[in-house]
Symmetry: C2
Subunit: 343 residues, 2 copies
DNA sequence: GCGTAGAGTGGGAGCGCTCCCATACGGTGG
DNA sequence: CCACCGTATGGGAGCGCTCCCACTCTACGC
């Protein structure tokens, strides 16, 4: 029970650690922050004091003095219910968490729904409450990315707003994912391959559609705009699109849906129309979610490396924050076609 | 240097706001924190200055001076993959986010996997980096709740470790959910009703099993331990349990599984055994997840108000932090049986 | 011998806020 | 008229840290 330890019940401070180690506050700070300009002997003494007192640095004081927060924000648009659907959200979070595991960084989860919250978020960032921002599910007309760029706040988005995204981004290869799915359908002898797209104001949807078109062309099939049905990522939208397709091209023998949920909607309609899957119509989804695995028949789907996207985004962001890489990164991760019974 | 260092000449401070409003720092602080001891005239002047300068308080300084952080942590055991499965995680987060929406509180997401991270977490809390903690998916032998209690850190858990939980908790009515499911089966004339349980070291599993037993008794059916098959919440576990049940009691005509995922495993086995659902065997799950909605036939399931649990936990925690309610709360929210085609 | 460089160190000066004591001032009662 | 009180206000004293300047001591060169 040294005098220093008695200090009114609170946690030990750097000052106390320094006193116990018989060094100055500055030196203790150097040891704790891994500065090389400390003698081995001193270092040991401080480390011993830290261990004995159970010292943990006070974050607030550090943030105030050092003008940094050691925290990054994961900004999630709550309105985007698709993002919350399995497996996206949890996998991204997992990846982010994994990349953060052996850093001192904290993860702030920020749900933005209303415009009011969006404005508040801008304040957060303006007030410099975080060192960097991870953005997911950003729409083309979202003002946030530009705001961040303006503020000079390090930021990485999941997905892109367009082909020439100005912010750093980590995306999956939507084009190739779609292309490979359609190629797979063609290779199994399907001739009238349709696609159900997501909202086309989302760049990923556009890319998937482009991939579809490419594969159709590569397979020497005849392109037909009647085989392209736009939807909105919802189950009901997928069902509606499938109905349209059946009406316009009753000879359709394969469908590539840009999400598993839309595929589920399409499946329902196909069932009701008496078309067997995959005998009459083959079906492929996108996301490789639980829905795909549990569908009957099990749905062939394009898997995105979501957790890895989360990990990669985080790593890129940490590099930006530490100043190791100032330029923006544009990373595209490969997808994988998981073939099941529906194709 | 780093883009993150965008200050110094940047954000206005409280001092500047005070100067502009022609008042002292103390007074400006009072206005910003809503103290009543300020004249209306002064208040207006300060508020005008805040608006003009776009002042946002510096969190770190506040935390340091006020010895609080205005942040709560959501602690998620990463190992518990079940928690990450849809819809649990996203719904809890949604609820927490909603309850936090019009507070100044930040949400820190903390994934704890390894023991190493668990120890680090204890340090976090010890260093008082958050004002309170939300715990989800806690196991009976988890040291964290006790640690929190010892530290006097406000904490609320999702679920309970036992019937007489010492921490504040918010749970769903597992007993009644299970009971109503089994009652429903009995009311449809099922006589040999089996159950597939979750891991019995989880209190929720125990409660669901108790609910099953109660309903069996209430319906005047003959209890039979051979109708009770323990599993582990996994699909494979559900399948294995179903196989056991079929072997032990081939006459089984209904199964209540303590999770949708286990029900999916059971369904697969029933199919392979040539049992029709629901004609030969009725099936009910628990969670009302996407798996249930998309199963074929669509799965009857017990819905838990997950988002509301998240909201309630957060509200209870905020009350504890503000000191409004010092005693622990034990809240149990009702479940709902969602009847679909499988029963 | 002297100067000089550099490594190692101590501690002052804040960071921007909250807390709280001191002060100013107008009323009130005797 | 004075003592007294309550309300509104100003500003000092930290909170625990990082940054950085100044200082001490060597070791080395000439």
């Amino acid at each position: 029970m040294t005098a220093a330890r008695v200090r009114s019940g609170g946690r030990p401070t750097l000052e106390e650690v320094a006193a116990r180690a018989g060094v100055g506050r500055g030196t203790a700070s150097r040891v704790i922050n891994g500065s090389p300009r400390v003698s081995a002997h001193t270092r040991e003494a401080v480390e011993a004091a830290v261990a004995e007192l159970g010292y943990v640095p006070n974050r607030a004081a550090r943030a105030l003095a050092g003008n940094r927060t050691d925290a990054i924000a994961l900004v999630v648009p709550e309105s985007e219910s698709r993002f919350f659907a399995e497996p996206y959200f949890s996998d991204i979070v997992r990846g982010v968490g994994a990349a953060l595991a052996d850093t001192e960084m904290q993860l702030l989860l920020t749900l933005v729904g209303s415009d009011r919250e969006r404005r508040r978020l801008a304040q957060y960032l303006t007030a410099h409450r975080v060192d960097g921002v991870l953005l997911v599910s950003v729409h083309a007309d979202d003002p946030l990315p530009d705001l961040l760029e303006q503020l000079g706040m390090p930021a990485v988005m999941n997905g892109r707003r367009s082909a020439d995204e100005s912010l750093s981004s980590v995306d999956s290869d939507n084009f190739e994912g779609a292309r490979s799915a359609v190629e797979h359908l063609a290779s199994r002898g399907r001739r009238s391959i349709a696609t159900i797209t997501g909202r086309l104001d989302v760049y990923a949807s556009q890319s998937r559609l482009d991939g579809y078109r490419q594969a159709v062309q590569d397979a020497g099939l005849e392109p037909d705009e009647r085989l392209i049905a736009p939807a909105d990522f919802s189950e009901e939208g997928g069902a509606r699109a499938m109905r349209d397709l059946l009406a316009r091209r009753p000879d359709v023998d394969a469908v590539f849906a840009a999400s598993d949920v839309m595929a589920a909607g399409a499946r329902q309609v196909l069932r009701e129309a008496g078309r067997r899957i995959p005998d009459d119509v083959a079906l492929i989804g996108f996301d490789d979610s639980a829905v795909a695995r549990h569908m009957d028949p099990a749905l062939t789907s394009v898997r995105q490396p979501i957790e890895e996207m989360g990990r990669t985004m985080t790593r890129v962001l940490l590099d930006m924050i530490s100043g190791e890489s100032a330029d923006r990164a544009q990373i595209v991760l490969p997808t994988e076609l998981v073939v099941r019974d529906s194709s």
